[in-house]
């Protein structure tokens, strides 16, 4: 006899009732990160130097700042999903686990906001 309600069975949800979204979001952000990170790494290598004026002019170009903002979003999102999984798997004490998960979430939100704002400030300041 199954204890699962017909609705749960139709929805395909297991004991935890959730998880598919997390898995899917991790794959989606991974797929987004492939071109974004490769673009970033190749861009760094092709800049003549990594001095302030050169990096600033590069990052302030509209296309580059949009791609940088997208990189920050995808990276921070993917990092949060992965770090969450690691904490869920290895932090055994329930109370500590919740604390670590909260800390990871706050850290990643802060990272995302800081990263996007930094890109915005670089893109909108008067040319130097």
């Amino acid at each position: 006899m199954s204890l699962r309600s017909p609705l749960r069975r139709v929805l395909g949800l297991g004991a935890s009732g959730t998880g598919t979204e997390h898995w899917l979001a991790q794959r989606l952000s991974a797929v987004a990160l492939v071109p974004l990170t490769l673009w970033f790494v190749i861009s760094l290598l092709t800049l003549p130097t990594l001095d302030f004026y050169i990096v600033n002019a590069w990052a302030a170009a509209p296309l580059h700042s949009i791609l940088l903002a997208l990189l920050v979003v995808a990276l921070v999102y993917h990092s949060h999903l992965g770090a969450q999984m690691v904490a869920e798997d290895y932090v055994q004490m329930a109370g500590l686990r919740v604390a670590v998960l909260i800390l990871l979430r706050l850290l990643h939100v802060a990272l995302g906001v800081a990263g996007i704002l930094a890109v915005f400030l670089i893109a909108t300041r008067a040319s130097l």
Binding site: R27, L50, D51, L68, L111, G115
Partner: protein, 130 residues
């Protein structure tokens, strides 16, 4: 059955090491490393937004020998996580599950990430691109 005599899942000490579990562990380790790398990337953007003086200081810190070692570590983490991530995506799509294929793709990932890290630093230090 008492609690002690129950079968337990293989723990690290009794697990026979093979390509698949080594790379699985490395994927997580490099992922954690890259979370710290994301911190550094946002720090770098923050410094760039702060202006010339801050950015120059941060670049100087990034250029010091211990940071260079860290950066080499991060580039390896990046290329490994990228290559092995693509391997995972192939699995998700249903390809490469065969045990022999999974082992071979694992070794290919390791070789590729070492070579890509080498190419990156060769180009970065010699300016071969510019």
């Amino acid at each position: 059955m008492s609690r002690e005599s129950r079968p337990v899942s293989p723990h690290l000490q009794v697990y026979r090491w093979q390509v698949s579990n080594t790379l699985s562990i490395l994927h997580r380790l490099t992922g954690v490393g890259l979370t710290l790398g994301a911190l550094a990337l946002v720090g770098w953007l923050f410094a760039l937004a702060s202006g010339h003086a801050t950015f120059t200081q941060v670049i100087w810190v990034f250029g010091s020998p211990p940071s260079q070692l860290l950066l080499i570590g991060w580039t390896f983490c990046f290329f490994f996580h990228l290559c092995n991530g693509l391997r995972h995506l192939a699995w998700d799509a249903g390809y490469g599950f065969d045990r022999a294929v999974a082992s071979r793709s694992g070794i290919a990932v390791l070789v590729a990430s070492v070579i890509l890290t080498g190419i990156f630093w060769f180009v970065a230090l010699t300016g071969a691109f510019v």
